[in-house]
C-alpha cells in the first residue's frame, strides 16, 4: 500500500507548540483521513522546531460506493429526464426504468484515487491544530509562519495549496545546508539526516542524553531537557567551563543561572557542582560556540553575584520594610497586607489539622517573611528563585531552619504535577498562601475567565489539591477562604462581590482541580459529578467519594441505591413545595412509613459517621440498608394522598431520605 508523507515546514516553532503538535497530530491525522474516507495505518510522527511531519500507509484509492437515485417519472417531459440524467453524469437512455414507474440513476460508483483526497486531508490537519498562542502573517494563521509543504504519496508529489504555500518535494535542511529533495515517506528521515536534521524528537532526545552522558554526570533540576529537544535540529552537546570562584555562590543560584534562561545542564561530581556545564548547540564551529556561551554565562553569573551581594548587604529586614509599599494584586493592598492575611489563614489551617505548637509557630513566622524576597534584586533578576532567595536571607538573619524551609517551599508546586513541599510547615504555608490568593481574587471579581488566568489561579488551586491529598488534610476550605476575605475587609479593602457568593465559587474552583486527578485514576465524569453533588467541600472527601463510586461501579448495591434514590426524587421534584416543613410521626398511618422513618434514623447516623471517616464504602452499605424500606414504602404507601397533611408529611419523609442518600452522591448523575 502507498505511503503518505505530509511535512509542514515552519519558521521556528516554540517548544510548547511542538509539544502541542505532538499531542494533537495523531488524532488530527486519523480524523482527517477518516473524513476523506481513507484508513491510515502504521502512522508515524516527527515533530521539531521547523517541521511537523506525519506518515501513514493509506489505501491506493477510496473504494467505489454504489448509488441508486430515484428521478422523475418515466413519463416526465423530455427536459426533466435529460436534466436528471445530466446531473448524474449519464445520458438520458442510460437511466433505468423500474416497475415503480420512475427513472433511476444507478451507478456502481467510481473509486477515488487517494492522491485526489490528500489535499483535503492536508488542509484539515493544518487548520485543525489548536495552539495556545497563534499569530498571523501574510499567508495565514498558525503558531509561526508556514514556509513550505512536502506532500507525497510514495514518490509522487501531491499538489496542495495551503497557508499561502504550495506543496513540492523539497524540504529545508539545517540552515547551514539548505534545501533537500525528499524521495518518499520511506526515505524521509534519511533524506533529512543528510542535510543535518534529526527530524524525530525521540531520536534527538536520545542523542542529547548520550552526548550529555559523555560529558559527565549532568543534572536537570529545572526540567529543561524536553524543551531543549525542540530547540535544536542537529544536536551537538558541548562542554563549557567557568571560574571556580562562582562556586562560592549558593548552589541553587548557580544552577538557576545556568538553567533558567540559558538552558544549560550543570555538571556534578560526588554530589557537588563542578565549574563546568554542558549545553546543546545546533551547529557552528565548536570552539567559537563554546567560548561564546562561556562568556554569556560569566555575564549572567556576575549579574547573579551582584544581585546576591546587594541583597545580603541590605538584609531581609530592609526588604520587609518595603512590603507595605508594594502592591499585591489590584484592590488587595500591599504585599505586607497579603502576608498578614496568609498568617491568619495559616493559623486557622494549623487549628484545623491540629498542628503541633512548634509547627504553628514556624508557619506563622514564615508567613510574615515569605513575600520579602519579591523585592530582592535576586528575584528581580531570576524570578525562578522566589522562595529560595527568601529562605537564604532568612537563614542569614538567624531564622530557624523550619521557618526558612517553609519560606523556600511555599511556592511549591511551581507547576502541575511538580514536586510538593517536603516539610509540613512548607505544605501548610503553601496552602494558606494559595487559598488567600484565590479567595481574594474571587472576592475582587478577578477570577479567571476562559483562557485568561493572569494570576495563575488554576495552578494555585491544583497546588492546594495536590498537597491536601498527599498529606490527607481536611482543609475546611470554606472557613479558610472566608477568613481571608474577612481579613481583606478588615484591612479596609472594598470587595467587588459578596463573600457569600465569592467564597463558594472559589471553593468550587479548587474542587474543579480534583477532577483531572480523578479521571487519571479511572473515575468517570459522571461519578465525579455525583460525588460533587453530595455537597462535599474539600478535595479529600471529594477524592474519597469519587473513588468509592468508581469501586462500586456495576455492583448490585450501587444500582439498588441509585434506583431507590431516583424513586424518591422523581416524586419530590414534582411536588417539592407541597412538602411539610417538619416531619410529624403522629401523621404516620402505615407500617411502611414508620419502618422507613426508623431506618432513616439509623442510616442517617451511620452514613454521616462513615462519611466523616471518609469511609464511603461503608456509607454506601448503610445507604443500601435504606433500599428495602424505600421500596416497600413505595409499594404500599400512596404518597400523593388526598389529605394535604398526609401528603405533605410523606413528601417530607422522602425529601429527608433523598438528602441522606445524597451524602453518598447525587445518584441522578450516574448512568442507569
Amino acid at each position: 500500500m502507498p505511503e503518505l508523507l505530509i511535512e509542514i515546514g515552519c519558521e521556528e516553532l516554540p517548544s510548547t507548540a511542538c509539544r502541542e503538535a505532538e499531542a494533537q497530530l495523531p488524532g488530527l491525522l486519523e480524523r482527517s483521513l477518516a473524513a476523506a474516507g481513507l484508513d491510515g495505518e502504521g502512522p508515524r510522527f516527527h515533530v521539531g522546531p521547523r517541521r511537523i511531519a506525519a506518515i501513514a500507509t493509506v489505501p491506493a484509492e477510496r473504494a467505489a460506493a454504489a448509488s441508486e437515485v430515484r428521478g422523475p417519472r418515466a413519463d416526465a417531459p423530455e427536459q426533466a429526464r435529460q436534466g436528471f440524467a445530466r446531473k448524474h453524469g449519464l445520458a438520458a437512455d442510460q437511466l433505468e426504468q423500474r416497475d415503480d414507474g420512475f427513472l433511476w440513476a444507478v451507478s456502481a460508483g467510481t473509486a477515488t484515487p487517494a492522491r485526489d483526497l490528500v489535499p483535503e486531508v492536508v488542509t484539515r490537519i493544518v487548520d485543525g491544530f489548536q495552539f495556545s498562542k497563534t499569530m498571523r502573517w501574510p499567508g495565514g494563521r498558525f503558531s509561526r509562519p508556514i514556509r513550505w509543504l512536502v506532500v507525497k504519496v510514495d514518490g509522487d508529489v501531491v499538489d496542495v495549496e495551503c497557508a499561502g504555500v504550495r506543496s513540492g518535494d523539497h524540504s529545508q535542511g539545517h540552515r547551514s545546508r539548505g534545501a533537500v529533495r525528499v524521495g518518499s515517506a520511506a526515505t524521509y528521515l534519511d533524506d533529512l539526516r543528510g542535510v543535518h536534521v534529526v527530524a524525530d524528537a525521540g531520536e534527538r532526545r536520545e542523542l542529547i542524553e548520550q552526548g550529555l552522558g559523555a560529558v559527565g554526570e549532568w543534572i536537570d533540576p529545572m526540567g529543561k531537557l524536553a524543551e531543549v529537544t525542540h530547540l535544536v535540529e542537529w544536536p551537538v552537546v558541548l562542554e563549557g567551563r567557568f571560574d571556580e570562584r562562582y562556586l562560592e555562590l549558593p548552589d541553587r543560584l548557580a544552577v538557576t543561572v545556568m538553567q533558567s534562561h540559558q538552558r544549560y545542564f550543570p555538571l556534578v561530581s560526588a554530589g557537588r557542582l563542578d565549574a563546568r556545564f554542558a549545553f546543546v548547540a545546533n551547529g557552528g564551529a565548536p570552539d567559537v560556540v563554546i567560548s561564546g556561551n562561556e562568556e554569556v554565562l560569566v555575564g549572567r553569573l556576575e549579574d547573579g553575584a551582584f544581585a546576591y551581594g546587594k541583597d545580603r548587604d541590605r538584609g531581609i529586614g530592609s526588604m520587609l520594610a518595603e512590603l507595605p509599599r508594594v502592591s499585591f494584586l489590584e484592590g488587595a493592598g500591599s504585599l505586607a497586607e497579603k502576608s498578614e492575611r496568609v498568617r491568619e489563614v495559616a493559623g486557622q489551617l494549623c487549628d484545623r489539622v491540629e498542628a503541633d505548637p512548634d509547627v504553628r509557630a514556624a508557619v506563622g513566622r514564615a508567613a510574615e517573611l515569605c513575600k520579602a524576597d519579591l523585592v530582592s534584586s535576586l528575584v528581580a533578576e531570576f524570578s525562578d528563585l522566589q522562595g529560595y532567595a527568601g529562605s537564604i536571607y532568612a537563614a542569614e538573619a538567624g531564622e530557624p531552619p523550619a521557618v526558612c524551609r517553609a519560606v523556600e517551599e511555599h511556592h511549591m508546586p511551581v507547576e502541575a504535577g511538580g514536586a510538593l513541599p517536603a516539610s509540613v510547615e512548607g505544605g501548610l504555608l503553601s496552602i494558606a498562601d494559595k487559598a488567600d490568593t484565590i479567595a481574594v481574587a474571587f472576592a475582587l471579581g478577578a477570577q479567571p475567565t476562559g483562557s485568561r488566568d493572569p494570576y495563575g489561579l488554576r495552578r494555585a488551586a491544583a497546588g492546594i489539591v495536590a498537597i491536601a491529598l498527599d498529606r490527607g488534610y481536611e482543609l475546611g476550605l470554606v472557613d479558610l477562604m472566608a477568613e481571608s476575605v474577612h481579613t481583606l475587609v478588615a484591612q479596609g479593602h472594598e470587595l467587588k462581590r459578596k463573600p457569600l457568593e465569592a467564597v463558594p465559587d472559589a471553593v468550587d474552583f479548587v474542587l474543579d482541580r480534583v477532577e483531572p486527578l480523578m479521571l487519571e485514576e479511572g473515575v468517570t465524569v459522571e461519578e465525579i459529578r455525583a460525588a460533587r453533588g453530595s455537597g462535599v467541600t474539600g478535595p479529600l472527601p471529594l477524592a474519597a467519594l469519587s473513588r468509592a463510586l468508581r469501586d462500586a461501579r456495576g455492583s448490585e448495591r450501587l444500582a439498588a441505591v441509585r434506583d431507590a434514590y431516583a424513586r424518591c426524587v422523581r416524586i419530590t421534584a414534582r411536588a417539592a413545595d407541597e412538602a411539610a416543613s417538619e416531619l410529624r410521626t403522629a401523621l404516620f398511618e402505615m407500617e411502611e412509613e414508620r419502618a422507613l422513618c426508623a431506618a432513616l434514623g439509623g442510616a442517617d447516623i451511620e452514613i454521616a459517621d462513615a462519611a466523616a471517616q471518609r469511609d464511603y464504602s461503608s456509607a454506601l452499605d448503610a445507604a443500601r440498608g435504606l433500599v428495602d424500606p424505600i421500596n416497600e414504602f413505595f409499594d404500599k404507601v400512596m404518597v400523593m394522598a388526598d389529605d394535604p397533611a398526609l401528603r405533605g408529611n410523606r413528601l417530607k419523609l422522602l425529601l429527608d431520605v433523598a438528602s441522606t442518600l445524597r451524602l453518598v452522591g447525587d445518584f441522578d448523575q450516574l448512568p442507569g
Partner: protein, 285 residues
C-alpha cells in the same frame, strides 16, 4: 576588526540595498526603536513600508553609572521594519549578519521563542529572540497589534542589540572598550554621559516637575488630537513615556499608581493610532 561605526554603516548599506528608507534617530527620547513613529505609526494601515535606522534606546532605570559592562541608560538599537513581512524574513536577517561579519556557519544561531508586548503602546507581537552562541543579539517580531489596532498586513520588526554585536565583533568584554572610530573608544564618547545621566536619573531629577510634565504632555496630546494633529500628539505621548520612565527610576511611582499611568499612555496611543489611520484612509480614498 570593524569599528562600531563601520558595523553600523554595513547594516545601513545592507538594508538600503534591500529597499529600506534609511531613517535617522528620532528627535525625542525613546525607550526603544519600536516607539519611533517610523515603526509604530507606519505599521498601521495597508501602505507598504520598509525602513531601517539606528535608535538610541533611553532607559533611565538601566543606568549603572557606566560601571556595568553592558547595562547603560542609553544603548543603541538597529531597527528594521518590513511591511508586509516578506516570506524570506529569516533569510534576509541571516544575510544581514553575514554582511557585518557574523558568518552563520561559524556560530550557533538560534531562533528562541519570545513574545513581545508593550502595554503602554497597546502593541504586541510574536517571534523570537535570536541567539548567537547563547547570547541574545536581536529581537525578531511579527507585529500583530499596535495602538490597540489589529495590523493588516503584518509587519516584521528586527531590533539588533548593536552594543552586544559590536562587542562580539571586536572581541571585547566591556562595551566601554569598544572602538567607536579609529582611536576613539565607546568610553571616550559616552562614559561621562552615563555617569551624569545615571546620577540625574536616580538622584537629581525633580519628581514634582516630572509629575507635572506628565500631566501637561498628556493634556497637550489631547489638545493636538482635538486639533486633528495626531503626529504632534504622538510626540507628546513619547514625552509622557520618557517622563514616566524617569519618575520610575526615581522610585516616585507607587506600585498602585503604575497601572494607571500605563493605562493613560495606552489610551492616548490608541487615540493617536486611530486618528492617524483615519487621516491616512481619507487621503488614500
Amino acid at each position: 576588526m570593524p569599528t562600531f561605526q563601520q558595523t553600523i554603516s554595513q547594516l545601513q548599506a545592507f538594508w538600503e540595498a534591500e529597499g529600506c528608507a534609511i531613517m535617522q534617530p528620532y528627535h525625542t527620547e525613546l525607550g526603544a526603536g519600536t516607539s519611533n513613529p517610523a515603526t509604530l505609526l507606519r505599521v498601521l494601515g495597508p501602505r507598504p513600508w520598509r525602513a531601517a535606522y539606528v535608535e538610541p534606546s533611553i532607559r533611565p532605570d538601566d543606568g549603572r553609572y557606566g560601571e556595568n559592562p553592558y547595562r547603560f541608560q542609553q544603548h543603541y538599537q538597529y531597527q528594521v521594519i518590513l511591511k508586509p513581512a516578506p516570506a524570506d524574513s529569516q533569510d534576509l536577517y541571516l544575510r544581514s549578519l553575514a554582511a557585518i561579519g557574523i558568518e552563520p556557519e561559524q556560530h550557533d544561531i538560534r531562533f528562541v521563542e519570545d513574545n513581545w508586548e508593550s502595554p503602554s503602546l497597546g502593541a504586541w507581537g510574536l517571534g523570537w529572540e535570536v541567539w548567537m552562541d547563547g547570547m541574545e543579539i536581536t529581537q525578531f517580531t511579527y507585529f500583530q497589534q499596535a495602538g490597540g489596532i489589529e495590523l493588516n498586513p503584518v509587519s516584521v520588526e528586527l531590533t539588533y542589540g548593536l552594543d552586544r554585536i559590536g562587542m562580539h565583533l571586536q572581541n571585547v568584554r566591556r562595551a566601554q572598550d569598544m572602538e567607536w572610530a579609529p582611536g576613539l573608544t565607546w568610553a571616550d564618547v559616552y562614559l561621562e554621559n552615563e555617569r551624569q545621566f545615571s546620577t540625574y536619573n536616580y538622584e537629581v531629577a525633580d519628581t514634582e516637575m516630572l509629575a507635572r510634565h506628565f500631566d501637561e504632555h498628556e493634556a497637550e496630546a489631547l489638545r493636538c488630537l482635538d486639533a486633528g494633529l495626531p503626529l504632534v500628539a504622538y510626540d507628546h505621548v513619547l514625552k509622557c513615556s520618557h517622563t514616566f520612565n524617569l519618575l520610575d527610576s526615581r522610585r516616585a511611582i507607587a506600585v498602585t499608581d503604575r497601572q494607571a499611568y500605563i493605562l493613560r499612555m495606552r489610551a492616548l496611543t490608541r487615540r493617536v493610532a486611530t486618528a492617524y489611520l483615519e487621516q491616512q484612509e481619507a487621503r488614500d480614498a
